[in-house]
Amino acid sequence: MTAREPTHTRSDNSDPRVQNPDAQAIYEYLKTVDQATFERLVAKAGLPEAQLRDILDDLQADGLVTVETGFSTVTISVADDDEHHRDEDSVATDGGAIHTVADAVAGDAAAVNLASGKVWEILASQRRRKTLRFLATLYEPESKTYIGLRDLATALVQTATARRHQHVSADEYHAVYVSLCQTHAPLLAENGLVRYYERPQKVRPTDDIVDLVRMMGWIDAACDRDVTEGSA
């Protein structure tokens, strides 16, 4: 926990409940933008992540900010003005969905449940990467949502051609469908990324797919951004 600084550095319009000057600066910044991702705050504050996490935990404990864990990002927002004076105990009013920043950010380090050699093998195919990205968008925790391989093939072909305003040719669709049945669905199932129901030809994304797609995001971010396929 960051040691709290004496209060003499506060500016006049500062919130008396924020005592650390770094925390003050971050809170002021959040008030101007309303909400920001953790990564954005790291970049903006220029502080080590651990220190920023401590500061945000303090701000959250004081009820000044709220922290939400999204699909792949941690968003920090300024708590509503009306609620500024509520007690610490009442912060988690939405049924405990608010986590501490430390918990939320620790999710970033979630290990992908595969050997790294497997990760590279799985990600080597562009069609498989597209399939993974698409399936990750269907993922809901503890949901039984599944998608038929025909629908999946249609969706993949459509996203591939949508920008070109072309009709999907039957051949193109068929090639995608066959590769899903014969190659991608079995391989993804073998590696625990989907449950594959062979007879009805349906797949359901598992928890692991989210971690892998998040990892793909890191790789895309490290690569040349002008030509990154993730934005396609």
């Binding site: 093998e121 995001g217 790789i219």
Partner: protein, 137 residues
């Protein structure tokens, strides 16, 4: 919905945020798909940075042969080495050269890593550390 999630994913730059790999992700995935190429990248990044940056094909082949057969370098036969030399010279090194990660001088049998290789090696390490089953990149 999809666009939002892709945006969210794009913002999540993760532990590789400081890396600047001068390759399309398409090319990167192609390069690092093969385990021997991943080994070569790790080897060259580890052996670069000294005065003598270039690596001889022979030395690299010995390393790759040792990795693939699980032998110590002293226990390798010529045959083991030549299999590795052939795979490196015909497939892996030309591909790494084309991606701009190395310069491969076939005549002199010399490999010179470019400065792009360090970030790719770093990414391999990051991913290897972010998977549950620890494995060398």
């Amino acid at each position: 919905m999809i666009a939002e999630i892709l945006d969210a994913l794009a913002q999540d730059r993760g532990p590789a945020a400081n890396l600047d790999i001068d390759l399309s992700s398409e090319k990167l995935f192609e390069v690092v798909e093969n385990q021997h190429r991943r080994e070569v990248i790790g080897y060259l990044a580890a052996h670069g940075g000294c005065d003598e940056e270039a690596v001889q094909l022979d030395d690299l082949a010995m390393f790759i042969a040792a990795v693939s057969y699980g032998f110590r370098i002293g226990e390798l036969s010529h045959e083991h080495k030549w299999v590795a030399v052939a795979a490196l010279a015909q497939t892996h090194l030309p591909l790494l050269d084309e991606a701009g990660l190395i310069t491969f001088d076939e005549e002199a049998e010399r490999i010179e890593p470019s400065d792009k290789i360090d970030d790719v090696a770093a990414l391999l390490t990051i991913i290897a550390h972010s998977v549950s089953e620890g494995e060398q990149p």
